[in-house]
């Protein structure tokens, strides 16, 4: 394990270069370029605001629905983009994987990091939104980077397993959009977690994405600490998942060139 990490560290320049490549390629030859990173979550936010605050009237307390939904959409877009790009990343670069030796986790990892750049761009308009809707902030927002890091760790773990299994079974490619669709509704993105009946919450919060998004809202809007038991559980799940996923990936990696 340590040996693998050392090799990954040694190849970090390749990682940076690959992230740069993926980012440039994603928006090359599009007129709006990186504006797409904002348009995606922003337009969803507008639609959901129309439907859920004007028509269905989802209760979000004192927080205006658009900002409330936007933070959820930001976090979710980061998650789903990461997986959508990371899972096919090995198969899409099969001539690299089958001919050149390099730490293969660079490909899914780069896909996650490129999504982080998108997330940062889309996040820029979150600040004027907070100001526009007059949301007061508290020092608790200092927790945000840690929460984000946790979410990324969880995402990376899933990306590693997904990308590796996709080499062996291309079924994964078809399962992912479906799974993400269901997962979207199982996470408090367009509705507040409080709408889930209290009896169901321990089960509901087994989903780490639900915990992460709920925690973002708590520290930004409600100035309360995250719910520690659930967050602790998510941390545990993330550590176990990512550790196991990395080991599984490095073990499966030995067969990639033979099977891809």
């Amino acid at each position: 394990m340590i040996d693998h990490l050392r090799k990954l560290l040694a190849a970090r320049e390749l990682l940076y270069t690959w992230v740069g490549r993926e980012f440039k390629v994603r928006y090359s030859q599009s007129i709006l370029g990186i504006a797409w990173a904002i348009i995606q979550p922003f337009s969803l936010m507008v639609i959901f605001s129309l439907v859920f605050s004007l028509v269905l009237r989802v209760p979000t307390g004192e927080i205006a629905y658009p900002v409330f939904a936007y933070i959820g959409l930001l976090a979710w877009t980061l998650f789903s983009n990461s997986l959508n790009f990371a899972i096919p990343s090995l198969v899409n670069n099969l001539n690299l994987v089958s001919k050149i030796n390099f730490p293969r986790e660079i490909l899914p990892l780069a896909a996650v990091l490129v999504s982080v750049i998108d997330f940062a761009i889309a996040g820029v308009i979150f600040l004027p939104m907070l100001w526009w809707y007059q949301v007061p902030l508290s020092p608790l927002i200092l927790l945000l980077p840690l929460l984000l890091l946790l979410q990324l760790g969880f995402t990376f773990g899933l990306a590693l397993v997904g990308a590796a299994v996709n080499v062996f079974y291309r079924d994964v490619r078809f399962i992912i959009p479906l799974a993400l669709q269901i997962w979207f509704y199982l996470s408090p993105i367009i509705y507040p977690a409080e709408m889930i009946p209290a009896a169901w919450r321990p089960l509901y919060f087994l989903n780490p994405m639900a915990v992460f998004i709920d925690s973002y809202r708590r520290v930004i809007f409600f100035h309360t600490w995250p719910e520690w038991p659930y967050l602790g559980l998510s941390l545990l799940v993330t550590l176990l998942l990512t550790g196991w996923a990395y080991r599984y990936f490095k073990q499966a990696e030995r067969e990639f060139a033979d099977l891809i």
Binding site: E13, R21, N95, L96, K99, I100, R254
Partner: protein
């Protein structure tokens, strides 16, 4: 040998499981925590079996063999892309695999961006690429287009850039696969010069190629692979000869076994090069005479054949093209046609002979054979002397006269 071994293979074998992997996803999920069941023996294909060799520092080792002999598997093993089923591979120093030219090139990125990307994939640090950047661009001869997306490049420019990056990798051991056969003749020559320069500098190289001429020109030692085994090993000349013999033998057995198969009425079985006394001769002085004899084996008669002989210089330049009218036609069985050149009058270099049997009246090629080599020994063309024609210097004379 006092030099240390850069690469050593001990009893290396590699097997592949045959057939499509149609395990169900359920099986796959259980395999996430349970080891895979061992496949039965009959589904196993041994791509390499019990391979042993060492490569001392500074050696250029050539690996030749038919398609499917195990060459690519061997390269994959050496570059750690895949792992041996049995045996051990020891390696020393930094290794670079120039196997996939332009690995990671993306059409939407500019030449400059792709150089850095490709360099990073080949294991170069950013500052190493920066230091070599100008040399790479100059070598590829694309200074004007370096900031243009590579999708607008011609295929020639594309491979030149890809090769240029590969050629500037500084490594202790280089794995090279067929990369010399890119670009036009002059770029190929440049590529070969670059490789020779690396050889001079003491690089250890493992070179896999179908281009027997570049293997002969470049390698110190050659391994011949056949069906996953090393069947011969030694100096390039004899091993290449043995490989040719095998190829020819295969062709003969095929033609004799199935005559009239897809119009293959005749095959060229051998091209001999002989001196005046009809002794085999692979070296010929410019003023010596030379006999090229082309042997064929016919499965069906040909009424109006023409035997053609071409001599090309190593870089592909056509030096000589002559036709031999075979008035009596070709009858079933063995035969030969020949060309006697007296004297040969070619400048010192390496030459290859191409033999073709065509029809006098129809646009039809019956047989083609190339690759037989001969050398005109002496100092190679340089700045002061060049060209291909080498007159009888003793008979003529060169003098300077002021008028």
């Amino acid at each position: 040998m006092s030099k240390q071994a850069m690469i050593a293979l001990e009893h290396v074998s590699k097997s592949y499981q045959l057939g499509v992997h149609q395990r169900s996803l359920r099986e796959a999920l259980t395999q996430l925590w349970r080891p895979r069941p061992k496949p039965s023996d009959k589904d196993i294909f041994w791509a390499l079996e019990d391979i042993n060799f060492t490569v001392p520092q500074g050696e250029v080792l050539g690996i030749i063999g038919h398609n499917g002999a195990g060459k690519s598997t061997l390269l994959k093993l050496l570059s750690d892309v895949t792992y041996p089923t049995r045996g051990r591979i020891h390696k020393q120093g930094r290794l670079a695999a120039l196997i996939e030219l332009g690995a990671g090139f993306h059409p939407d990125l500019t030449g400059r961006e792709n150089v850095f990307l490709n360099g990073a994939i080949l294991g170069l640090k950013r500052r190493e690429i920066q230091a070599q950047f100008d040399a790479i661009v100059a070598f590829a001869e694309i200074e004007k287009f370096i900031d243009t997306p590579v999708k607008r490049y011609s295929s020639g420019m594309y491979v030149r850039l890809a090769f240029a990056v590969a050629a500037h990798v500084q490594a202790d051991v280089l794995l090279v696969d067929e990369v010399l056969s890119v670009g036009d003749a002059s770029f190929q020559q440049k590529s070969l010069d670059k490789m020779l320069e690396m050889r001079e500098q003491g690089a250890t190289v493992i070179f896999v190629s179908h281009n027997l001429w570049s293997v002969a020109a470049f390698c110190h030692r050659v391994l011949l692979l056949e069906q996953g085994h090393i069947v011969a090993e030694g100096l390039p000349g004899p091993i290449i000869q043995q490989y040719r013999q095998q190829q020819r033998q295969k062709l003969i057995t095929r033609t004799v076994a199935e005559p009239n198969q897809d119009g293959e009425r005749v095959i060229i079985t051998d091209v001999e090069m002989l001196d005046e006394a009809e002794r085999p001769q692979k070296e010929v002085d410019p003023q010596d005479s030379f006999l090229i004899r082309v042997h064929y084996l016919a499965a069906a008669p040909i009424e109006h054949p023409i035997g053609k002989i071409r001599v090309r210089r190593a870089d592909g330049l056509l030096c000589l093209e002559l036709r031999v009218f075979m008035e009596t036609g070709i009858t079933v069985g063995k035969g030969y046609y020949q060309l006697f050149i007296q004297p040969i009058q070619l400048t010192p270099d390496i030459y290859t002979v191409e033999a073709t049997i065509i029809d006098r009246h129809k646009p039809m090629v019956y047989a083609f054979h190339s690759g037989e080599m001969f050398t005109v020994p002496g100092q190679l063309a340089d700045m002061d002397r060049g060209g291909i024609f080498y007159p009888n210097v003793e008979g003529s004379y060169i003098s300077g006269v002021n008028e």
